[in-house]
């Protein structure tokens, strides 16, 4: 240490060069590696198909359709009055992922869900399970008529995709 103190100038210059070279090296390697990593993310052609329009006029009360959006099924259900009241009267304290029904719909008649189980990505089956909604056959998750997780290993409610009504009976997904 005492030798370094005798010649502080030289020591500092070397330190600076080491740090500067390392920094440039790290940034350089990072810049070179990023394209190799980022190429695996969804490409432009995949992103271009990221939003679609769906016509709802032919769906009757109690019926459900499944559309393919971003390679995943989306459930669009026209709920019956009973299903709506059942979903609304649930005590939020009972829920694993508490969310009131009105936060999950834009119009209470229409429930729009990504049909992918939040556990490990299977497609839940409609009209099965203990809570009048969906049941995932893979690992036994039960969802209610608002698509909320009620029983089983799934950690969260079925996802509500980004959508908006573009007319009385038409929605735009994504």
């Amino acid at each position: 240490m005492s030798e370094n103190n005798n010649n502080p100038d030289k020591k500092n210059r070397r330190d600076f060069l080491t740090v500067a070279t390392t920094a440039v090296g790290v940034v350089g390697v990072g810049t070179a590696v990023w394209p190799v990593i980022n190429q695996m993310n969804p490409d432009s052609s995949v992103k271009a198909l990221a939003s679609i329009e769906v016509d709802l006029s032919k769906i009757k009360e109690g019926q459900e359709i499944t559309v393919l959006w971003r390679g995943k099924p989306v459930f669009i259900k026209r709920r019956t009055k009973e299903e709506i009241t059942n979903a609304e009267k649930v005590d939020l304290k009972e829920l694993k992922d508490p969310q009131p029904d009105n936060k999950r719909v834009k119009k209470s008649e229409w429930l729009v869900l990504v049909g992918v189980c939040t556990h490990l990505g299977c497609v839940p089956i409609s009209g099965k399970g203990d809570y009048g909604g969906w049941f995932c056959p893979c690992h036994g998750s039960h969802y209610d008529s608002s698509g909320r997780i009620r029983k089983g290993p799934a950690p969260t409610n079925l996802e509500v995709p980004t959508y908006e009504f573009v007319g009385d009976s038409k929605i735009k997904l994504g």
Partner: protein, 433 residues
């Protein structure tokens, strides 16, 4: 700086040998090559003259059998790759084409499929051998760890390969397994999208899985070479768990071990041929002959049989993140065993208590395998939970506890004495063990 320069001028000069040609025990052309590339003498020292314990049982033939499996898998995979098309629209059709149109395509594909299964059969017996005879103990810990790395790589490769036919089980298996990464806090979803190259398992996913399947296959070959180099440094364990001391304890690898291994390989290949020829789809799932459909989940998704015990562990835990952690740790915990089992005695032959727990562990493995193939409901969930608890208890509690308290049986001083004791009936072992 100046101090170092002056050292070179003083009496610190040493000769260097950048040219190491020579030293071969062979003459002529072979010697000429071996002097310049010493792989021929390495083969002689490590395979022909190599001394191994003379009491190795057939359980020690699994290493060679695994090597054969790996080579056959690479060869059949190479030729299948000449006909397969890794695209979501063509993959299923190209596999059907291999099965129906390509000359001997059916044989090559069935062989590749069933070799994967037999690879796992052999590796499970191989791991059991290590557990039962304490092959993970000093000085073989690193070999054991390398082995676990190989096992992880095998599982990844098998999973990626199973995706390629693009049937229903391929598609949904890939969906379930890639979704395991979404359990990672904060970045989980981004990781999964990155892995898929899409918002769901799709064309991009299949294409990269095909590339990674190839990469990992050769990666395994590389790590296997490390495993074998490490073996040739520490030497083989043996049923007595006693290190060989002199030539009364050993035989040379060729022709003794090679001929014994060859016989074991023939029996193994016979079983393989019987399955491949008479029940080629027995170890697979019929749903994989239905083309992948992203809108319909099969009523009951099951992975390949060799993943079932770990799948049961995953499902036994009601929390997603903890389930994933439990599944990965259930294999990684094997790596801690050399430091959890503190007994100085290697072989279970001399460990009456530990032996019982090892057999119970094997039973647990099969029970978990059974419930992993059953729906996740009712009694099966309970059995899976009990099985999972025992799995971790075995490593984390039973191993250290038993090793500290167990009274081991009296041991012979050498391998040749061990063989004498066996003849006198002083040691009870199974015939083939």
């Amino acid at each position: 700086m100046s101090g170092k320069d002056s050292d070179l001028n003083s009496n610190n000069i040493k000769p260097v040998h950048t040219n190491k040609v020579g030293g071969s025990p062979f003459k002529g052309v072979v010697g000429w090559i071996d002097n310049r590339l010493p792989i021929i003498r390495m083969f002689k020292y490590e395979y022909l003259d190599f001394q191994v314990p003379k009491n190795l049982s057939y359980l020690w033939s699994l290493g060679g059998i695994l090597m054969i499996c790996l080579i056959f898998l690479i060869v059949t995979g190479l030729v299948l790759g000449m006909h397969y098309k890794p695209s979501s629209t063509e993959a299923f059709i190209s596999v059907e084409k291999i099965m129906r149109d390509v000359n001997y395509g059916w044989l090559l594909r069935y062989a590749h499929m069933n070799f994967a299964s037999f690879f796992f059969i052999a590796v499970y017996i191989h791991i059991f051998r290590g557990l039962y005879y304490g092959s993970y103990k000093e000085p073989r810990q690193l070999m054991w760890l390398i082995g676990i790395v190989i096992f992880f790589m095998m599982m990844a490769t098998a999973f990626l390969g199973y995706t390629l036919p693009w049937g229903q089980m391929s598609y949904w298996g890939a969906t379930v397994i890639t979704n395991l990464f979404s359990a990672v806090p904060l970045v989980g979803k981004a990781i999964v999208t990155w892995l898929w190259g899409d918002y769901s398992v799709g064309d991009s996913t299949l294409n990269r899985f095909y590339v990674l399947h190839w990469l990992l296959a050769f990666g395994i070959l590389g790590v296997v070479i490390f495993h074998v180099i490490a073996l040739h440094i520490v030497g083989s364990n043996n049923p007595s768990g006693i290190e060989p001391a002199d030539t009364r304890d050993t035989v040379s690898f060729a022709p003794f071990t090679t001929s014994k291994d060859l016989f074991a390989m023939l029996i193994f290949l016979l079983a393989f041929v019987l399955i491949t020829m008479y029940a080629p789809n027995y170890l697979g799932h019929p749903d994989n002959y239905i083309p992948a459909d992203p809108l319909v989940t099969p009523a009951h998704i099951v992975p390949e049989w060799y993943f079932l015990p770990f799948y049961a562990i995953l499902r036994s835990i009601p929390d997603k993140l903890l389930g994933v952690i439990a599944m990965v740790s259930s294999i990684a915990v094997l790596g801690l065993l050399p430091w959890l089992d503190l007994s100085k005695v290697r072989s279970s032959v001399f460990r009456p208590i530990w032996k019982q727990f090892v057999f119970l562990f094997v039973l647990d493995f099969f029970i978990l395998m059974y419930v992993g193939g059953m729906p996740a409901e009712g009694i099966y969930v309970l059995i899976a939970r009990v099985g999972t608890v025992y799995w971790f208890l075995f490593f984390l509690v039973i191993a250290p506890l038993v090793s500290l308290t167990e009274k081991t049986l009296p041991m012979p001083n050498s391998i040749h004495e061990y063989e004498d004791w066996k003849k006198q009936g002083r040691i009870k072992t199974f015939k083939i063990f």
